[in-house]
Symmetry: C2
C-alpha cells in the first residue's frame, strides 16, 4: 500500500495503454511490452504498490542504460521431462517469468509437475504474478527469486541476502486463488525509507545499524533483519537461503551477495538475476474433487476463526482480491511522486501523458 497521499487515479486500461507506449518507445518488443505491463498492472490492481506502476520509470532507465535487453531471444531447454532451464538473454524478468511458468505448466500437463530454473534475467516485479498464472489454470504454482543484499544473516553484522521473495498460489474452485507473496525479510526496505521520510520510528525488531546492533531509527538502518527478528531470524535467513539455492545456485547465477544493486549507478551491465518456478497438478496426487473439497473446507475453517478485537482473519490473497475489485471499479491511485515521475516519462519520451482523474478531496484511497 502507498504510504504517501494519493492525489489522482487512473483506469487500468489507460494505465496499460500508457505503459505500452512507454515500453515500445524504449525499443521493447511486443512480448516484453506485454509481459512488463501485465506484471505491473497485476501488482497495482492488487494493491502491491511497491511492485506496481511505481517501477515503470526504473525499467525505462534499465532499458535505456543497456542493462536490460528489450528484444531478447530467450531459449528454453527441456533437460528432462519435468524440468528445464530458461536463458533469459538479459531481457525483462517479467517476460522470463511468464515464459518459464508457461513451460512449467506444459511440463506439468505431461508429467504431473514441472519446474524451470531461469538464468541471465533481471527484476521480475511481484513474484506472485507467475504462480497466479498456474492457479488461474487450476494448478499449484510457486516462484522464488534472489536479489541484491539488504538483509543480514542470523547473527550477521551486515546485509547478505536480498529480500528474496517466496510466492505460492493454489486454485480455489469458484473463487480467487490462495495467494502468498512474501519477502523473507522482517519488513520491506521501502518501509524503512518511508519511515525515514516521515520521521517515524521502526518496530523494535526489524532492522540494524552498520555495527550490527538492532535499531528503530530508520535514518541509521543499514540492513533489515531476516523474518523472525533478532531471536528467531535463523528461520527467515534459512528461508532466504532456500530461495537463494533454488534461484541462483540451480540456475548457475551469482548469489545475491555478489549481485549488482538493482538501484545503483551502473545501469548498463546486465545483472544476471536467477529465478525458479514450479507447477503441480492437484489431480496428479489425488482426485480433483477431493482437492477442491478439502481446499474449500480449509479456507472456510480459516475464515471463520475469531479475530482479536477490532481486526479480522484473512486467508493469503483475500486482501489483494478485495483491493483488486475496488481498484477495477474506482481506478488505481497515484501519489504525487508517481504522477511527477509519469509526467517526466511522457515528456522525455515525447509521448501523450497519462490521463488521470484528480482525487477531489486529495485524500487517501484504498
Amino acid at each position: 500500500m502507498s504510504h504517501t497521499q494519493d492525489i489522482a487515479r487512473v483506469t487500468t486500461s489507460e494505465l496499460e495503454a500508457f505503459m505500452r507506449r512507454v515500453l515500445m518507445r524504449c525499443g521493447a518488443d511486443e512480448p516484453s511490452t506485454e509481459a512488463v505491463s501485465r506484471a505491473l498492472l497485476t501488482a497495482s490492481r492488487m494493491g502491491v504498490d511497491s511492485h506496481g506502476l511505481r517501477l515503470l520509470p526504473h525499467y525505462v532507465q534499465a532499458v535505456r542504460g543497456g542493462r536490460v535487453n528489450p528484444s531478447p531471444r530467450m531459449t528454453f531447454s527441456r533437460r528432462m521431462p519435468a524440468t528445464g532451464y530458461l536463458d533469459a538473454n538479459d531481457g525483462f524478468g517479467h517476460l522470463a517469468g511468464y515464459t518459464a511458468i508457461a513451460h512449467a505448466i506444459a511440463m506439468a500437463d505431461d508429467t504431473g509437475m514441472g519446474a524451470v530454473a531461469v538464468g541471465n534475467s533481471s527484476h521480475f516485479g511481484a513474484a506472485g504474478c507467475y504462480p497466479l498464472e498456474a492457479a488461474r489454470r487450476g494448478l499449484i504454482g510457486m516462484a522464488v527469486c534472489n536479489s541484491d543484499p539488504f538483509v543480514r544473516l542470523h547473527q550477521g553484522q551486515g546485509a547478505f541476502h536480498g529480500t528474496n521473495p517466496f510466492a505460492f498460489a493454489a486454485p480455489v474452485e469458484g473463487g480467487n486463488p490462495y495467494l502468498l507473496d512474501m519477502a523473507t525479510s522482517s519488513i520491506p526496505w521501502n518501509r524503512v525509507r518511508q519511515y525515514a521520510a516521515i520521521g517515524r520510528e521502526l518496530p523494535p525488531d526489524v532492522a540494524a545499524n552498520a555495527a550490527g546492533d538492532i535499531s528503530t531509527e530508520p535514518g541509521e538502518v543499514s540492513s533489515l533483519l531476516p523474518l523472525g527478528g533478532a531471536q528467531f531470524g535463523f528461520k527467515g535467513a534459512g528461508l532466504a537461503g532456500v530461495v537463494e539455492v533454488l534461484s541462483s545456485t540451480l540456475a548457475g547465477m551469482l548469489n545475491g551477495f555478489r549481485l549488482l544493486p538493482m538501484v545503483g549507478p551502473d545501469m548498463s551491465t546486465p545483472r544476471g538475476v536467477g529465478h525458479f518456478f514450479l507447477v503441480m497438478r492437484p489431480d496428479a496426487f489425488n482426485d480433483l474433487e477431493t482437492y477442491r473439497a478439502r481446499m474449500h473446507e480449509y479456507l472456510t475453517d480459516l475464515r471463520s476463526q475469531p479475530a482479536v478485537k477490532g481486526d479480522e482473519v484473512l486467508a493469503p490473497g483475500d486482501r489483494e482480491w478485495r483491493c483488486q475489485a475496488h481498484r477495477d471499479a474506482e481506478g488505481i491511485p497515484l501519489d504525487s511522486a508517481n504522477l511527477a515521475a509519469y509526467e517526466r516519462l511522457a515528456k522525455e519520451l515525447e509521448l501523450a501523458p497519462l490521463s488521470v482523474s484528480w482525487q477531489p478531496n486529495g485524500g487517501r484511497m484504498q
Copy 2:
C-alpha cells in the same frame, strides 16, 4: 537442545538396539522398526532433542493404544510420471516418510523431479530426516507436514494451524548437506512448557493467552504466534498455510484444525496426518559442475560474513553437523526425564534396560 540437565549418555548403537527391542516387542514389523529408530537417531544425533529419543515412549503408547498400525501395508500409486500418492495405512509416519521420499527419488531419476503426497499417516518425527535422504544421494529434497492446532492465525484469537514444519536439504559436494528444518511458528510449544517449568518469562512477541492478547507468561499461554510475531505473523501464517495445502489438501486429509491432538486422551483412533515430499535433480536444470561450484561459492560467502559481537554466522545445518560429530564421539545425552521414561519402558515391556554411562559431573553436555 535439551533444557534440563543431562545426567547420562548412550552410544548410538546401544540406543538403536534398545529402540529396536522396544518397537519389535510392541509388534512393529521390521520396516517400521527400522524407519522409526533411524528417524529418532538421526534427530538425536543432530541435537534435535525435541524430535529424538524423547518420542519413543509416545510412539509406544500410540502403537499399544491402536492409533498407529505397527505392520501397515502402505500402497503407492504413481499417478503421473513425476507424481504419486502414498496411502500409509495408519502406519508410522517415519516409514511413510522414508517410503515416499524413496519413490520421489526414483521418479526424479526418470523425469528430473518427483513429488509424493501421503495420506493416512501419523507423526513422522523430524521433518529434516526425509530431505536428507535426497541430499545424501546428490538431490535436493523438501518435506512438509501438518499437525494439530497450536499456532494462531495472523490477528486470530486462538490456535488454528499446527507448528507445520518445512524442511529443505540440498547436497554440498564434499561436505554435509545444507539443511533447514523449521516450524512455521515463532517458537516451539516445548519451549513454552520448559519456560513454565522453570518459571522463566517468554520473549515479548511469540505467544498469546486465551483472549488472544500477547503474553510472556508461559503459564497462561494458549497459542503460539506464527513466525513474524504480532506485526509480521501474516508471513508465518501464510507459510503454515502453504504447508497445510501441500500436506492435507493435496493428500485429501483433514486440515490441522480438525486433527486429533498428537498428545491427548484418545490413543486408539488413527489421526490421518498428511505429508508432502519433493525431490529434484540439480543436473536436471543445469550442469552438475555449475551447481556444485555455485553452492560452494554461496556457502563460502555466507560463512565468511562478520558476525555480531560474541556470536558466529552459520549456514542451516552447520550447528547440527557439529553436534552430530560430537555426539557420535561422546554419546547422546539423556536427562532425568528421558532416563526415567526409558527405565519404565524396559520394565513395562520386560526388556533389558538401556545401558548408559553416567555423566560424572552431572553437568550439561552438548
